[in-house]
């Protein structure tokens, strides 16, 4: 039944509804029909609260289910019909109000109202509580840990070679990584996933100091005051934007009255279309606000062993597989249209199933260790980095000691991710623009001390040549 679309209730029907609302016994018939719906959902405001007009009750940030996008109108408001007036989010229930219950008149029919909360407050709480995943998402990193990159190996021992992978790591690889010089630099603070503690005065102070609180408030303010989100009703399959109204509504016009204030529907749009539009807008605002913050070290699984770690390199065991990894700090890539795109921090790794170089240093070995989006990646966490190289490249590396080959391969992976998109290569033909990463100005990049890897490096060249190292 869609109130908005049917003919408006006549005077007799409206009188009957008024009588039923005031005479409790008249609800009996309705009770039987909508038996289940008469009990208030757990946690919703009681009739006493509603009568006292308590606002802000229950305005807690919604807890998203796994896989939910954090900023979806559906997640904030909840399912079903909803009314938003002056930032107050109200859920409309399909039942007549009991005496003292808060209600709204929608097309002359009274419907119980449950206050979800203040939209600004809801958005602020989402921004505060989920700032880490929002920052990671805004910087194009996924907060989800990498899952099952490789099937667990039964044994880490290399068959027929006499030296196990673990021996190789401790006796050869780690000493080699230490000579790179990065071991002298301090480890990034707070790089682990040890603490996920929320709440508390210390956390609040930290959030305030770091600017997260202001960012969350800014995001909430911008979204809550957006056109179309200040007053609207979602009724069935339709969205109506509302304007304050006084007087007699036109026949068929959506008319809503709540606590003495009247609204009329002005614009109508399919609900699904409006929701997608608002979701996109919220995502845009959130990305603009939270991309200013630096994400923490990618939250990939740290519960497995870390055999070695310095400022840049690490050797880890994940799902039974040993990986030699390299951390790449944020960087900027120039697009063919000369716009700059900011890519977040990424960790690339090479699995070490064996101490035989031909089994390790090979094509498609280098991969990202977590969810990441980039022109040269196809897939989610664990996606291989597309590094087109002739066979001679890998053959040359395989002739080196394995620890040397690994370091060189990881460096090549780093240079590919950062600087592998340039004029004169095949890359722009496969990937017209690095638009998966947010835009940044040159001034902002300099202020953030980010390296800019240029697309245009030689003037007047339009030849397509495949470069290899």
């Amino acid at each position: 039944m869609s109130v908005g679309d049917g003919p408006p209730a006549g005077a007799t029907v409206r009188r009957l509804h008024r009588e039923r609302a005031t005479a409790g016994g008249a609800l009996h018939g309705r009770k039987r029909r909508f038996g289940r719906r008469l009990s208030l959902p757990h946690g919703s405001p009681t009739s006493a609260n509603a009568a006292q007009g308590q606002r802000g009750a229950g305005a807690t940030a919604p807890v998203p289910r796994r896989g939910d996008l954090l900023l979806r109108l559906g997640t904030l408001i909840g399912p079903g019909d909803a009314l938003v007036v002056d930032g107050h989010v109200l859920r409309l229930r399909w039942r007549m109000p009991r005496p003292g219950e808060d209600f709204a008149e929608v097309q002359g029919e009274r419907r119980v109202v449950e206050e979800v909360g203040d939209l600004r407050e809801l958005l602020t709480q989402v921004g505060l509580r989920y700032h880490r995943p929002l920052i990671a998402w805004a910087n194009r990193l996924s907060f989800e840990p990498a899952l099952e990159l490789e099937p667990a190996t039964a044994s880490r021992k290399a068959p027929g070679k006499g030296q196990s992978v673990e021996q190789f790591v401790h006796e050869r690889l780690v000493p080699r990584l230490q000579t790179e010089g990065f071991a002298r630099l301090p480890l990034a603070e707070g790089g682990g996933a040890e603490s996920e503690g929320e709440g508390g005065e210390e956390e609040d102070t930290a959030l305030t100091r770091s600017g997260i609180g202001a960012a969350a408030a800014q995001m909430a303010e911008r979204i809550a005051t957006s056109q179309g989100l200040q007053h609207f009703v979602l009724q069935g399959d339709t969205y109506y934007s509302l304007v304050p109204f006084y007087g007699k509504p036109r026949p068929g016009q959506v008319h809503i009255r709540w606590r003495g204030v009247e609204f009329a529907g002005v614009d109508k749009e399919p609900r699904a279309q409006a929701v997608v539009r608002f979701d996109r807008h919220m995502a845009t605002v959130a990305r603009e606000v939270f991309s200013r913050f630096e994400p923490e070290t990618p939250q990939w699984k740290r519960s497995d062993k870390v055999l070695y770690e310095d400022h840049v390199h690490s050797v880890v065991v994940q799902s039974g597989q040993v990986y030699c990894c390299r951390r790449i700090p944020p960087y900027v890539v120039e697009a063919p249209n000369r716009k700059l795109h900011r890519f977040g921090e990424v960790t690339v790794g090479v699995p070490i199933p064996d101490v035989e170089p031909t089994a390790v240093v090979r094509g498609s070995a280098a991969r990202v260790m977590h969810e990441y989006q980039h022109m040269f990646l196809f897939g989610g966490a664990g996606a291989c980095i597309c590094m087109p190289r002739p066979a001679a490249f890998y053959q040359k590396l395989q002739k080196l000691p394995l620890e040397e080959g690994l370091v060189v391969l990881l460096e090549s992976a780093r240079m590919t991710m950062c600087s592998g998109y340039f004029e004169g290569s095949n890359a722009p033909y496969s990937h017209p623009t690095p638009n998966m990463a947010p835009l940044i100005t040159a001034r902002e990049a300099r202020a953030q001390q980010l390296p800019i890897y240029r697309f245009y490096r030689k003037k007047g060249s339009h030849s397509v040549t495949l470069r290899w190292w």
Binding site: L185, H311, P329, M375, F376, I385, C386, M387, P388, V407, V408, E411, S412, M415, T416, M417, S419, G420, Y421, F422, G424, S425, N426, A427, S430, Q449, P451, I452, Y453, R454, R457, K458, L466, R467, W468, W469
Partner: protein, 97 residues
């Protein structure tokens, strides 16, 4: 006095203290000055060839900060007298697909 080092990819090529006069030079000139100090003729040749290739990438690392540069860029735009250890890396193109 801060040290400045030159690398071709991962391979160390040269190293010497950074002097005030270096700040008047361009990146390319400074790299050339460093190349002259290398004993490895093979690496020196590869570095000169990479410098001539505009698709090569020059990175200047100072502490945790990395910047890209071109040979004609004045070095003073990238460094200052108070800059610590400086590492210049010249890399041949690494194309992605």
């Amino acid at each position: 006095m801060a040290q400045t080092s030159l690398r071709l990819g991962l391979q160390q090529a040269a190293e010497r203290p950074l002097i005030k006069e270096d700040l008047r030079a361009t990146v390319g000139q400074h790299i050339e000055a460093l190349i002259e100090g290398t004993a490895n003729a093979n690496v020196a040749g590869q570095l000169r060839a990479a410098l001539k290739d505009p698709q090569s990438v020059i990175e200047i690392r100072s502490g945790e900060t990395v910047q890209t540069a071109t040979p004609d860029m004045p070095l003073r735009e990238l460094l200052s007298p108070g800059t610590g250890e400086v590492e210049i890396t010249v890399s041949k193109p690494h194309v992605g697909g």
